[in-house]
């Protein structure tokens, strides 16, 4: 009798488990209504192609992306697009199990910190054969399109580009006795200005993201944070680490930048940042963050280039994100056509307006200029000016980079709290980072 019960139980289990997993994998954020419709339409028209597309972002992005998807379906009645979207953290938690189960959507939005992992694990399609064919890139700068290459294989098409800079309030700078930011300014000049700002009772900035700006600093020396293969750090001289973070810590000590206590406390709260409160001059960050900041600050602002020497060597166009096609997709050509629509369609880009970075196509940039608000225009102009001065991007961060970046952020925090010297932190960072990166050998 027991045996029979066991068999019976097993049957029930077998029945229920696949049902559970099936339900789980289909779960997109928005396909409640969509799925029902698609079943019906598929019976009407058997040869209809269904594409699944996934992205992360906020409400505004979801809205206009859906608008574009609808428009595309209208223009291409043979294509039906199912959308899935989520916030950044949830997006990756959802994508990883889908990848493990070979159930990724046809088109996925990729971030620079994840693309290597997905590419190396064979999840992404090589787009080389689609480029120039389905995906037209005649108007795209070579430095920009190549950001989607990993080991010379095109795994993603950038949706747009950002560039680093100093976003500041010129009025406060004048009040501190600095008329304007000098052309081709250097780190030393930056420090001098910061001290003048302090003397006037303001602070210079709200600190820099350590991994991004240290990486830039290394590039101005012709180096990089990671080596080409991603198996170790890309620089040998720990003095560079000590020089860069030593200077930043010194600025804190001198009172030209808020203390680490304050930075930790106000981190991620735009309303509490010094520049929004009117006591800070500027912020070092990516150009796509300018429009939001400008809205919060609500005073005239400007963008200034990075500090030198050798800014041209250090500066690069950073893809805000990529569109990638997954290797298990059954409709790769249709997927490529949709990506082309995204890059080259004027109407679509009038909705996007650079929300996913400044468009990569030059003709699109011109076509939508009239649609832009004043701050958006400033960003477009700034990125255009910087594009001429930029060098090719370093290879995308290797597998394990989130852990390396966390380790760096920790050590920088310790330096800023005065718990460890920059020299000692440099050595610790080398050891910790190389231990993680050694897994890529």
């Amino acid at each position: 009798m027991r045996k029979k019960t066991a068999v019976w139980l097993l049957v029930v289990l077998l029945f229920i488990l696949p049902a559970c997993s099936g339900g789980g994998s289909a779960g997109g954020a928005s396909n409640g209504e969509g799925n029902g419709k698609s079943a019906q339409e598929n019976t009407d028209k058997k040869d209809k192609t269904t594409l699944r597309i996934a992205w992360w972002g906020g409400d505004k992005r979801h809205e206009y992306t859906q608008q574009i998807v609808d428009k595309y379906q209208e223009l291409n009645p043979h294509v039906k697009i199912d959308v899935e979207y989520a916030a950044f953290d949830d997006y990756w938690k959802k994508l990883a199990p889908q990848a493990a189960a070979n159930q990724l959507p046809d088109i996925v939005q990729m971030d620079i910190s994840y693309i290597v992992q997905y590419a190396k694990n064979g999840q992404l399609e090589d787009l080389t054969s689609y480029i120039g064919d389905q995906i037209k890139v005649d108007d795209v700068n070579e430095n920009v399109i190549s950001t989607g290459k990993i080991n010379d294989v095109q795994y993603g098409v950038p949706t747009g580009v950002n560039v680093l800079g100093f976003q500041y309030d010129p009025e406060l700078l004048k009040k501190s006795g600095v008329d304007s930011i000098p052309e081709n300014w250097t780190w030393d000049q930056y420090e001098e200005i910061a001290l003048k700002v302090r003397d006037a009772g303001y602070v210079m900035d709200g600190s820099m993201a350590p991994d991004i700006f240290f990486h830039y600093f290394l590039r101005t020396h012709g180096l990089s944070l990671y080596n080409q293969e991603g198996t170790a750090l890309g620089y040998e001289d720990d003095a560079l680490f000590a020089e860069f973070f030593g200077r930043l810590a010194r600025l804190i000590k001198e009172g030209a930048v808020p203390s680490q206590e304050k930075l930790t406390q106000t981190k991620g709260i735009l309303e509490e940042s010094e520049i929004v409160k009117g006591s800070g001059v500027g912020v070092w960050q990516w150009s796509n963050q300018y429009v939001g900041l400008q809205a919060a600050v609500n005073r005239p602002m400007e963008l200034a280039p990075m500090t030198g020497p050798n800014m041209e060597k250090g500066l690069y166009m950073q893809p805000s994100m990529f569109w990638s096609i997954t290797s298990h997709s059954k409709n790769k050509e249709e997927a490529a056509k949709f990506i082309d629509f995204w890059i080259n369609d004027v109407e679509a880009n009038k909705w996007i307006k650079g929300e996913r970075g400044v468009p990569i196509s030059a003709s699109i940039k011109e076509a939508i200029v009239s649609e832009l608000s004043e701050p958006e225009k400033q960003v477009f102009d700034f990125v255009a000016a910087m594009e001429e001065k930029s060098s090719p991007m370093s290879p995308a961060p290797p597998v394990g980079s989130p852990q390396v970046i966390a380790s760096l952020a920790d050590l920088v925090e310790q330096i800023n709290y005065g718990q460890v010297t920059p020299e000692k932190a440099a050595a610790t960072f080398r050891q910790e980072a190389n231990a993680v990166l050694a897994n890529n050998k």
Partner: protein, 310 residues
């Protein structure tokens, strides 16, 4: 299990089989749920704790390497253990004392007592939720109420979440403030102590503190033990407040990097699923040991009326 009667045994067996099957059918939702969502995941996580697994590649068997790394090489791991122990050993006793104190206040006869009980319980209903943590963050942030008050009193403001010495304390304060559920259990316990005891003691001339020490505490001790164990276990597993308040990073200087937060970082930020599984198992053992110790010590201080005092 079955009574076998001569003659009608076969028929009876058939009948009981059917009855049993119905029974199994009714409990099957739980059994299946338990197998699919509890037992099997537990077994898999035990397996994963001996592997190197990043979600993409198949798990590689690496024996006890994860545990060795945890105990001998990972300073951050030990830091998270230290932070968690401080959090538990400072937070739980404080919370229980506070809960008992409020429970005794609410045990008095007063007209509004029903309202007070509800109000004091509220923080626990919204308990470990994200909303409370965000509110707490706002109360203690740079321009929050607390700092405004300090400035008003002429005291320099404190960077509650920015100062490595203050951040954990603020987290503990949040945990003490969520005393409602243990308070309610204490209240039920207090109601169970018969008023005659206190009356008799009063006649003998006992003072209030003496009544508290000699009557309330001993009679409440089984409930204290229950609360102590439940609160210790849940304190070990605290995650949400630290995650929200430190933006998921355990800042400043890993001062709020609780065990479960570090586990989460290893699993979902660094994709070290194997290592995180190993950490989870060590945590389980740690909680088991703590609970066992509490039970062992209980025979020295817990008083059961029904068993002649023990």
């Amino acid at each position: 299990m079955f009574t076998i009667l001569p003659g009608g045994a076969g028929a009876l067996r058939k009948q009981s089989l059917r009855a049993n099957l119905t029974g199994y059918a009714f409990i099957s939702p739980f059994v299946i749920g338990f197998l699919a969502f509890t037992l099997i995941p537990i077994v898999i996580s035990l397996y994963l704790s001996f592997t190197n697994y990043n979600l993409f590649n198949d798990p590689q068997w690496i024996g006890t390497f994860n545990f060795k790394k945890m105990f001998t090489q990972d300073q951050k791991y030990w830091n998270s253990v230290r932070v968690t122990f401080i959090y538990v050993f400072a937070g739980v006793p404080l919370r229980l004392m506070f809960a008992l104190f409020v429970a005794m206040l609410l045990n008095t006869k007063s007209r509004m007592v029903g309202v007070y009980r509800t109000v004091y319980y509220l923080p626990s209903i919204i308990g470990g939720s994200v909303a409370v943590s965000i509110m707490w963050r706002n109360i203690f942030n740079e321009q929050g109420i607390v700092n405004s008050l300090l400035i008003f009193l002429g005291i320099p403001p404190v960077a509650w979440y920015g100062d490595p010495n203050a951040a954990l304390g603020t987290l503990i304060a949040l945990s003490v403030w969520q005393f409602g559920s243990s308070m309610l259990i204490f209240l039920a316990g207090l109601k169970n102590i018969s008023p005659e005891m206190y009356e008799a003691a009063s006649i003998d001339g006992a003072t209030a503190p003496r009544k508290f020490m000699k009557i309330t505490l001993p009679l409440l001790s089984p409930i204290i033990l229950f609360n102590l164990i439940m609160q210790t276990i849940s304190a070990f597993m605290t995650f949400v407040p630290a995650y929200i308040i430190s933006k998921g990073e355990g800042t400043p200087m890993d001062g709020t990097l609780l065990y479960s937060l570090y586990l989460f970082r290893q699993a979902f930020m660094f994709n070290n699923m194997g290592y995180a599984a190993a950490m989870a198992w060590v945590m389980l053992i740690m909680i088991g040991i703590m609970t066992a110790i509490l039970f062992k010590t209980s025979k020295f201080w817990v008083f059961y009326e029904s068993k002649g005092g023990r």
